[in-house]
């Protein structure tokens, strides 16, 4: 149960302090009448109070002095001064010293109710805010990053040390290795954690939209720009901007991004106003950017801007026993989510975990376990519950002659089946849209003309 709001009513006139306390008690507040300024300050030193209502004219220590000393002891405590002898000078003095308000006796009960309620609501919101922040802190530790392997422990160590700085971070690793999770962990453990974390997958956006998405646009700046749109840099102000698939940026966007990183400001498309942004950039790619630099498709100066600190995420196949740890983590997560009971994995499944190469990495494992929880019967996950069924030979091994060809064929089949709906196809293929766009581009796939 929440403790009662404590209000001190300080007045040298007994009838005033007592009647006001009684009146406030009917609101459920713990209102305490206090005879004079010194008593009030003693009580303030000893106990916790939410609000002070203090009469201006009192012998020995007057209301202004109580206010001044109260704010020294408890900075920010709301003090309402009331008086029957109001003058402009005393009102100005009270507000200058830091009174929350200055009221003239007799006080309109509705006005006093509103003032007190407003303070209480604000204090409740502040308490709630502190509580939520503590919750967020508790949630966003590294709990979601599961793994005991040396490589993952090194990554976690790096996340911990890089979080404290504002340096740009480039996270590299194959698709599905958890790059965004690492970016979120860095953000959540940084000073920026209460500000936005904005993620944008550049690979999922057509070239024509990247600039507008990143920097925003003004109304009428191009056909269809019916209203002003804030860019991701603006939205992330004060926080972290996560740029995924940076290896897919066009040369024009690379130049613009470099300028923004250098100037810490951007212009909306069609706009003349310089918009200053305080953003920490974390980027990610599954491409070999050094190779791209050699090939001339990625700017070297941008690479060094983005890669002040580099973090490489190992593929799942190189994480040894982490596969089982992760599988158990996902099993628990999905069982809880779907209200199912599974005790673990059959020995055959455990054996398969280490043998299978997991080309889709953690995302593939997560999807496989989700499927197993949905379709599986019995207390243990069996091989038949896994996406590759009872087939102990992994799909990769089966199609070893030309995996690339098999993948291309399969993607094309799925795209045809969904009428080239990329979102649905990505869902069926259990990969994200950005990856599917990349694969369409890499395999040179195109929609058949009717």
């Amino acid at each position: 149960m929440k403790p009662a709001v404590r209000i001190m009513v300080v007045d040298d006139e007994k009838i005033v302090r007592e009647s006001l306390s009684i009146w406030l008690q009917k609101f459920g507040y713990e209102a305490v009448p206090v005879e004079g300024g010194q008593e009030a300050l003693d009580l303030l030193n000893r106990e916790e109070w939410n609000i002070l209502l203090v009469d201006l004219k009192m012998p020995r220590i007057d209301g202004i002095e109580v206010l001044r000393k109260a704010l020294e002891v408890k900075p920010g405590i709301p003090v309402i001064i009331f008086t029957a002898y109001a003058t402009v000078e005393t009102a100005v003095e009270a507000m200058r010293v830091g009174a929350y308000d200055y009221l003239i006796k007799p006080i309109d009960p509705d006005m006093l109710t509103l003032k007190v309620q407003k303070i209480v609501e604000k204090q409740n919101l502040e308490d709630e805010n502190i509580m939520l922040r503590e919750k967020i802190d508790a949630i966003y530790q590294f709990d979601e990053i599961v793994g005991n392997s040396k490589s993952v422990q090194e990554v976690l160590k790096m996340v911990g040390s890089v979080a404290a700085s504002d340096a740009t971070v480039l996270i590299t690793g194959e698709s599905g290795t958890g790059k965004e999770l690492i970016a979120r962990a860095i953000h959540s453990n940084s000073e920026r954690r209460y500000k936005p974390f904005v993620a944008v997958s550049i690979g999922a956006l057509p070239d024509t939209m990247v600039e507008s998405e990143l920097f925003g646009h003004e109304k009428g700046s191009f056909t269809g720009a019916s209203h002003t749109h804030m860019g991701r840099f603006e939205l992330a102000d004060g926080g972290t901007l996560f740029l995924d698939e940076v290896g897919d940026m066009s040369p024009k966007v690379q130049v613009d991004l470099l300028r923004v990183l250098e100037e810490k400001a951007c212009y909306r498309l069609g706009g003349n106003r310089k918009i200053h942004t305080d953003v920490r950039v974390i980027s990610a790619t599954n491409k070999d950017l050094k190779k791209n630099i050699k090939e001339g498709t990625f700017r070297e100066d941008l690479y060094y801007r983005l890669n002040v600190v580099g973090i490489h995420l190992p593929p799942l196949r190189k994480r040894g026993d982490d596969v089982l740890l992760l599988a158990e983590y996902f099993l628990k997560k999905f069982c809880m989510k779907m209200n199912r009971k599974k005790e673990g994995f059959s020995p055959k499944v455990i054996e398969m975990f280490s043998r299978y190469k997991w080309p889709g990495n953690i995302r593939e494992l997560e999807n496989a376990i989700e499927r197993a929880v949905v379709v599986g019967k019995g207390s243990l996950v069996q091989l038949r519950d896994m996406p590759f069924g009872g087939d102990q030979e992994s799909p990769e091994e089966k199609a070893a002659i030309s995996l690339r060809e098999a993948e291309k064929k399969h993607i094309l089949q799925v795209l045809d089946k969904t009428g080239w709906n990329v979102t649905r196809s990505a869902h069926l293929l259990e990969i994200d849209r950005a990856t599917l766009y990349n694969k369409i581009k890499n395999y040179g796939l195109s929609r058949p003309q009717d």
């Binding site: 009838i15 006001l20 009684i22 009146w23 609101f27 006796k105 007799p106 309109d108 509705d110 006093l112």
Partner: protein, 190 residues
């Protein structure tokens, strides 16, 4: 804190002039809301002893003290009704006053009259307001504090609009906080 023991009765007493039928309506409203025996006592004079001549208002806390000494039986509760304008020294006015968890309360019809606000008299509206204020103050005697539910009779009234918007009923939260012995099945209009 709700009182432990139920009173033998709740006495209603007019203090000077009051709106016509006010005592009867209050008695009936209280008996509809609570399992309390109500009795209307002989009228008492207007409480001049509590008059603050500088404000032409009557100190409500002094009236409570007087009611408790005038009717000292500890098992009897007392609710005064008056047309005098009530206030406590620090506030411009109060519609009513009660001892929280105590045995005395007083309500004023002075500011509940439509005429006070420059509108034509309306007896039905006036009596409905008097009923709400009476049930509200008895709620305080039973230990209830103010409620945030605008429809609940324990919603604080610092203006007529607030009195008019609330009902004569308790919200479920306030109802559950009442001592079980005083609960009556709610009847009558809101």
């Amino acid at each position: 804190m709700p009182p432990c023991e139920p009173p033998s009765k709740l006495c209603i007493v007019s203090l000077g002039d009051t709106p016509d039928d006010a005592e009867e309506r209050v008695c009936s409203a209280i008996q509809s809301s609570f399992e309390l025996n109500c009795e209307i006592l002989s009228p008492e004079p207007r409480p001049e002893f509590a008059l603050d001549a500088s404000r032409d208002q009557y100190n409500s806390l002094e009236i409570l003290d007087w009611l408790e000494s005038r009717f000292p039986q500890p098992d009897q509760w007392i609710l005064g009704i008056t047309n005098a304008d009530l206030a406590i020294p620090v506030l411009t006015f109060v519609f009513g006053e009660a001892r929280l968890g105590g045995r005395s309360a007083v309500i004023s019809a002075f500011r509940l009259h439509e005429e006070f606000h420059g509108r034509p008299a309306d007896t039905m509206v006036l009596l409905s307001r008097v009923e709400k204020e009476a049930i509200h103050e008895v709620g305080h005697m039973l230990g209830l504090t103010h409620c945030l539910d605008r429809n609940c009779v324990m919603y604080p009234s610092n203006s007529l609009a607030q009195t008019d918007v609330k009902s004569t009923r308790f919200c479920p939260g306030c109802r559950s906080s009442l001592p079980p012995w005083c609960l009556a099945e709610p009847t009558g209009p809101n």
